[in-house]
């Protein structure tokens, strides 16, 4: 998929947060099987203020404030989906989602298979991910790569406002569980959203910046840093292609392979810890499908292998930043 910037004419300035809210609101209006449940999604307005106003508009039956019971209400979302509803479960952050992981893996991802295809779980789970707000070692991790390991679910990482607006509906239409990861640093991001923006496909990666010399492959919060790095590289005459994976499971291998086969070099940028990262999977796929086209080994820019520390300078040093991406790309170019 090649994504061009949205036509400027009929577009409105908005934020990523607002785009997610509009997506939820729109889904609620379109389909009365849809409801939102999670901690503080209602009266409080959402821990990242995503659902502000929805409680007043839709009431407590469709915007359900839950107790602090991640496993319980995620499991309840699974059951409700099996019985015909289209729940959107919000988990505040991916660190807390571990409390619900048994339900997600052992039930949501598995029931269709275990039941021989009799029961499906058309559930959407949204959660925040990532560092950058100095929330330290129990609130800042990026574990979406883990979820991308689980057969039976799909994993999305909207990085743009269009995707924040458009992925939710596609996820709700999917007959299987779909997890959506929203990087916390994106919520305040502003941009123009075309009037009447609607569902987007959730099968393919997007080339966010075409280029000839090297492929920079990333997703989520790292997309913008990677695009910035590409501009810096451009000043050195290095024309980087930036791929936004968008869907972390299943991976759009074809787009990755096509890009790398053209540029013959690749760096993967991923806010997960390096060992066992999603970046490793992307590297392995390139190894398997594009080895003969590579002029240089594929590199990775990932998070340092450390529980994210509180102090700003340490936190900054622990996750991928523009200079590291630039340096890795330059090294891959042999400059």
């Amino acid at each position: 998929m090649n994504s061009k910037p949205a036509a400027q004419s009929a577009a409105v300035e908005t934020t990523y947060r607002e785009a997610v809210r509009q997506a939820i609101r729109d889904a609620m209006l379109r389909d009365d099987r849809v409801f939102l449940m999670g901690e503080d999604v209602g009266r409080y307005g959402g821990c990242y203020a995503v659902s502000k106003g929805l409680f007043d508009e839709f009431g407590p039956k469709r915007i359900l404030d839950t107790p602090l019971s991640e496993s319980g209400f995620t499991g309840a979302g699974i059951g409700a989906a099996m019985a015909g509803m289209r729940p959107i479960v919000e988990l505040m952050t991916v660190n807390f989602s571990l409390l619900a992981l048994d339900q997600i893996l052992n039930n949501a991802a598995t029931i269709r298979h275990m039941s021989g295809g009799q029961f499906g779980v058309p559930l959407v789970i949204r959660m925040a991910t990532g560092a950058g707000k100095q929330l330290a070692a129990q609130h800042s991790h990026s574990l979406e790569g883990w979820y991308a390991h689980i057969p039976g679910i799909k994993v999305l990482a909207p990085a743009t406002i269009e995707d924040a607006r458009g992925m939710l509906w596609s996820a709700l239409e999917d007959p299987d569980p779909v997890l959506i990861f929203e990087n916390v640093m994106l919520y305040n991001r502003t941009g123009r959203l075309p009037d009447g923006a609607d569902a987007v496909q959730i099968d393919q990666a997007a080339v966010r910046r075409p280029g000839e010399n090297i492929s920079l492959i990333t997703y989520g919060g790292s997309l913008w840093k990677t695009l910035e790095a590409a501009e810096t590289l451009a000043k050195d005459g290095i024309d980087a292609e930036v791929i936004d994976l968008r869907t972390l499971r299943p991976l759009d291998e074809d787009t990755i392979v096509a890009s790398v086969s053209k540029t013959r070099r690749a760096i993967i940028v991923d806010e997960g810890w390096r060992s066992g990262s999603l970046a490793a999977e992307v590297s392995a796929r390139i190894m398997e499908r594009a080895f003969w086209n590579l002029d240089m080994p594929v590199g990775r820019v990932c998070s340092a292998e450390v529980p994210i520390p509180y102090a700003r300078h340490l936190e900054e040093a622990s996750i991928p930043q523009v200079p590291q991406i630039v340096a890795a790309a330059r090294a891959a170019m042999g400059v």
Binding site: M82, D102, R112
Partner: protein
């Protein structure tokens, strides 16, 4: 269609139905145990031997629209609910005609037609599902009841606690049935719970509860009627503890080092089938021929389903990755 009266209807027909349910489960499982030693059935096999009065007393009181969530010890629940014995047996064989297409096995019997939501082998893992099914029913304003079965061992899991609170808080029509057979594998109740009066815990969630002799099918049925009517009338959850006992090993791999043979024998004497059958004969609600007739019917049925399972085909290996995602979305 539901009988709303809570008095036991001890017509001859009804008591024979109760007995038939229990015998069907018992005899089916006896055969399964044999088939296990013959390696026709593999994996873990958890028998319900001794606990039949619970499923037999409760499940027939549910309506067709109601939903059932069970554990890995769920053959009895599936059979009483009306999942075909043929498809249950084929599932145990791992054959394609099994109720889960051979992918689930003994621990994961599923059946959409009878609203049988499995066969969950994570202890406590079915409770949140049951809450969710009931939540959907409340949101869709359906008058269904969801019955969630679990062992007393599950009571220690966090998911038990979260589920009871959610069900009560949101006023969901869930019947929680704790099958308290006094052991979780080899761990006796006293070793897993600081408060061993399980049903009393429901008070911590503001849930009405009751404990019943789970070895007495009539008592269970009476309690089940009361419980299910309460759930249906109030829309609120109810907690029913059935005190029962498992006569056999936890699964086929259990040397039972943790309990005395004498204890098992004592409980066997109070077995739900032997006791009910004796009482029926004594009170002339049934004659020996009735029972023999039922038994021979069941034996014939079991022979049929074993033949069915034997004849059923293996799912082709090429289909391995089917049912991971819905067909429509498959690439």
């Amino acid at each position: 269609m539901n009988d709303r009266s809570e008095k036991p209807r001890l017509t001859r027909e009804h008591v024979l139905d109760l007995l038939r349910h229990m015998l069907r489960v018992r005899m089916f499982e006896d055969r399964c145990a044999q088939l296990y030693t013959q390696e026709k059935i593999r994996g873990f096999l958890h028998l319900y031997d001794g606990e039949e009065a619970v499923a037999a007393g409760i499940i027939p009181v549910l309506s067709d629209q109601d939903r059932v969530v069970a554990t890995y010890r769920e053959h009895g629940h599936a059979l009483v609910r009306g999942v075909g014995m043929d498809s249950v047996m084929a599932e145990m064989y791992g054959k394609r005609d099994g109720c889960s297409g051979g992918r689930g096995g003994s621990m994961h019997l599923f059946d959409a037609e009878t609203n049988f939501y499995g066969g969950n082998a994570i202890v406590g893992g079915g409770l949140p599902l049951a809450v969710g099914l009931a939540l959907a029913d409340r949101l869709q304003e359906e008058g269904r009841v969801t019955a969630s079965f679990f062992g007393e061992g599950a009571v220690a899991e966090g998911e038990f606690h979260e589920s009871l609170n959610l069900a009560a808080l949101w006023r969901l029509p869930v019947l929680f049935v704790c099958e308290n057979n006094r052991y979780a594998m080899g761990t006796a109740l006293e070793i897993s719970e600081s408060e061993t009066d399980i049903h009393a815990k429901a008070a911590a969630y503001n849930i009405s509860s009751e404990a019943v002799d789970g070895m007495d099918v009539v008592a269970v049925e009476t309690a089940a009627k009361r419980a299910i009517h309460t759930v249906r009338d109030t829309g609120k959850p109810y907690f029913l503890e059935c005190r029962t006992y498992r006569f056999r090993a936890h699964s086929m791999f259990d040397a039972q080092l943790y309990r005395d043979k004498a204890e098992v024998e004592e409980w066997r004497g109070r077995g739900p089938i032997v006791r009910f059958q004796g009482w029926l004969l004594e009170n002339e609600l049934a004659h020996p021929e009735d029972i023999a007739g039922i038994e021979s019917e069941i034996r014939a049925e079991i022979d049929r389903v074993v033949a069915f399972a034997e004849a059923s085909e293996w799912e082709p290996v090429e289909t391995l990755t089917e049912h991971v995602y819905a067909m429509e979305a498959a690439q």
